[in-house]
Point group: C3
């Protein structure tokens, strides 16, 4: 009976986590939270699928770029495809944060048509672009946040902690670089990139950061 209560508890907790964006962790790179892709390498314009031919938005950023800042809900195709096996994307976060972890997600193995387009070796860096006078002394300084390899055999959302060397730097922009993929010669698909962290406490940061 005790076991039954336990089983029920585990189920409810895990479903709650699943319902809370899969990880139950705040994502400052979420489109519906205000994050936007501001720059990217050459997109992949497949002949098949007319949805690739939608036009570019402001600053030459393609509309499909937003897909990598949104949930995929287990659907293959809900990704941003870039040309070749290396490239990059720059994302302006919802707000300035102290980053803690990065999550890279690809489509689940069981429903994928082909997973060779998944990114493999990746690097995420971040900096403070500013606009905000009080933090501008930090602007321009770039921090390496994480270097990792996306593993096709592990769970489809893979989380990597930010390197200690990044300290508790404040950033509002990240750059995601991939230098290889899982053997697709034509393109690399990014299903979703999340940036976890917390907003700097305005009281504590003032004297500490100066």
């Amino acid at each position: 009976n005790d076991i039954r209560a336990y089983a029920r508890d585990v189920v409810l907790k895990e479903i709650e986590k699943h319902a809370a964006d899969g990880l139950g962790r705040v994502d400052y790179a979420l489109a519906s939270g205000g994050a936007v892709v501001v720059k990217h390498s050459e997109p992949y314009l497949a002949g098949k699928g007319s949805n690739w031919f939608v036009m570019s938005g402001r600053n030459g950023v393609r509309n499909e770029a937003e897909k990598m800042l949104k949930p995929s809900f287990g659907e293959p195709g809900q990704c941003f495809a870039l040309k070749g096996s290396s490239g990059f994307v720059e994302i302006r976060l919802r707000t300035a944060i102290i980053p803690e972890a990065i999550t890279l997600e690809h489509v689940a193995k069981s429903v994928a048509f082909d997973r060779s387009s998944a990114p493999k070796n990746c690097r995420v860096s971040g900096w403070l672009e500013g606009q905000n006078i009080e933090w501008s002394y930090d602007a321009g300084k770039m921090f390496l946040l994480a270097e990792f390899s996306y593993d096709l055999e592990k769970s489809n959302a893979q989380t990597f902690n930010v390197l200690d060397s990044a300290g508790s730097s404040i950033i509002d922009t990240v750059r995601f670089d991939f230098t290889s993929n899982h053997e697709s010669p034509s393109h690399t698909c990014i299903y979703r990139l999340r940036v976890h962290g917390h907003e700097p406490d305005s009281v504590s940061m003032m004297p500490v950061q100066s």
Copy 2:
């Protein structure tokens, strides 16, 4: 072994409920079912996030209003934001029903940027707007359906039974009033409001209601 079967059973039942709109209960205020927002207090037009600047639809109802009649799928930002800490929304239901319960949903704690914009003290009333000759004798009579407080510490979808005083009144329109929120001075976000109940049985209602 018996326990294993039990565990499996609990899991499948809970996932089924989760997959069935989270609660497994019919919602007559669902946009895809035909419900619409017909009136609301002043919307909150945040400077940040260009999606707030979409234009209003018919009768001055903003397009984002529909968000509160749709699932949120664990995404922060998928809500209708109204100015200040009090306000209201009126919703025409899919069809005339005898209401049984109201569900108010906010974004899950674990993924929220800020939950101070959640409504706190709420009141839901309903009436029959009509169009339908056979029920029009009831038109204009307003029923208090529920009064409740949304609790940030409880599960994110909170269901409240309709008051006995509402009897088995037939309604096709509800008004959701909030008189306070969880301390946001600028705005209040409504992620989703659901109205549960059943359609009046045309045979039984005739003599009883006259």
Copy 3:
């Protein structure tokens, strides 16, 4: 303790399957994968719900047709409605495959307004439409893939294996025919049709198929 580990394991596996499009099975009829509805019987244009009045796309195929090639996420109304209790839809798949199973899905009982519009007796056939020189010898040959009855008492996504008589035929187009529904006199709603299978291995197929 062993039991606890087991319970946790079951939960995580089932949630993973749920998150992977509900079945954890590749679907070659998925819109986001490139599949399209190419032909259908007369659509049902309900007076209620302005979304039914959207215009037709290319070849007289209505835009709502795409709904049946997309996930429904437990929402009633996310379907393609056809007039009457019999009709058909033809779908061009993402690519040519050897079909293995068909899944027909309707909205869950617990959240449905009315399930009388569910298809009942169904037949799925398939053929190779071609464009591709190497497979064109097969073009025009039509295969009966499955005949089944959708059961309102069973789980809402029902999977049927392809008949042995279809052998390992290669198809890129399917036709879904329904000859009855669950007693709705006006219309039949198709929430989703999936086509499972695998892509022919170009090496093995050459000699075998000729």
